[in-house]
């Protein structure tokens, strides 16, 4: 077996679990509000009303990057199962980081569009 050396770091493993615990609590809350309490009656005013409170804004400021890190780190673990060559690994990792940061910034911008509405 001449597999490419593993590039899964212990930090990746640890952060996947830490963000996972955060997301478990956040997602239960998020799902309860948007899929149980507010389901069928979602519109712009429902969202902006919620996003007018500092607590909810802080909630989403943590939720967005934590979710994206967990998603992209998870995707990396799936890709890693195929043991790509060292060069490909670096390229894919770089791409995932750029995408993750870019979408986080995009998410923050969307948060602003909802806070302005109220």
């Amino acid at each position: 077996m001449n597999e490419t050396p593993s590039k899964i770091s212990a930090y990746g493993w640890l952060l996947q679990r830490i963000t996972g615990i955060f997301l478990a609590f956040f997602l239960i809350f998020h799902f309860q509000v948007l899929h149980f309490t507010k389901a069928w009656k979602l519109d712009f005013s429902v969202v902006t009303q919620r996003m007018n409170s500092t607590g909810w804004v802080i909630f989403y400021l943590i939720f967005v990057p934590a979710g994206l890190f967990h998603a992209f780190n998870g995707a990396w673990q799936v890709i890693h199962d195929y043991r790509p060559k060292a060069g490909t690994q670096t390229a894919v990792k770089t791409l995932l980081w750029i995408l993750g940061i870019a979408i986080s910034v995009w998410g923050y911008y969307l948060i602003i569009t909802f806070t302005k509405g109220a």
Partner: protein, 132 residues
């Protein structure tokens, strides 16, 4: 010597055929639900981006998305989220609290919680779908 199956799903076929146990099935389901959730996350961000167009654009997107069909699909989303969340917590507990030995028992406890959650979800979501 062990020769891995080739092809895109070769690794997955190997894992399942060589080690058809609870741990392998939950690992496979965790992968599948994880990939679904990443795709859903992109769709979620895409739909939310309609807020840039202002209140009218956002509301027309939302009214198009809130249909009986999407609310039935929402049950699937709840199932995917619940499985990934509960199995993920089980993995975390096993890793952090040295619970690898009883991991199968913990898996079935998680699945009992999953079934209870899904019964509640089905009653609430289907009741709502038919009352509209």
């Amino acid at each position: 010597m062990y020769q891995p199956k080739s092809g895109f799903f070769g690794k997955y076929k190997d894992e399942v055929s060589l080690n058809p146990n609870v741990g392998t099935w939950s690992w496979l389901l965790h992968r599948i639900t994880g990939v679904i959730l990443v795709i859903y996350l992109f769709m979620h961000f895409f739909a939310l981006s309609s807020s840039i167009g202002g209140e009218t654009t956002f509301n027309s997107w939302l009214s198009n998305l809130q249909t009986p069909l999407t609310h039935v699909l929402e049950i699937g989303l709840a199932a995917v989220v619940a499985f990934h969340l509960l199995n993920g917590l089980r993995i975390t507990f096993a890793d952090f609290f040295f619970l690898t030995k009883p991991h199968k028992t913990i898996f079935w406890i998680a699945m009992v919680i999953f079934v209870v959650f899904m019964i509640i979800t089905l009653v609430v979501f289907l009741g709502r779908a038919f009352s509209h």
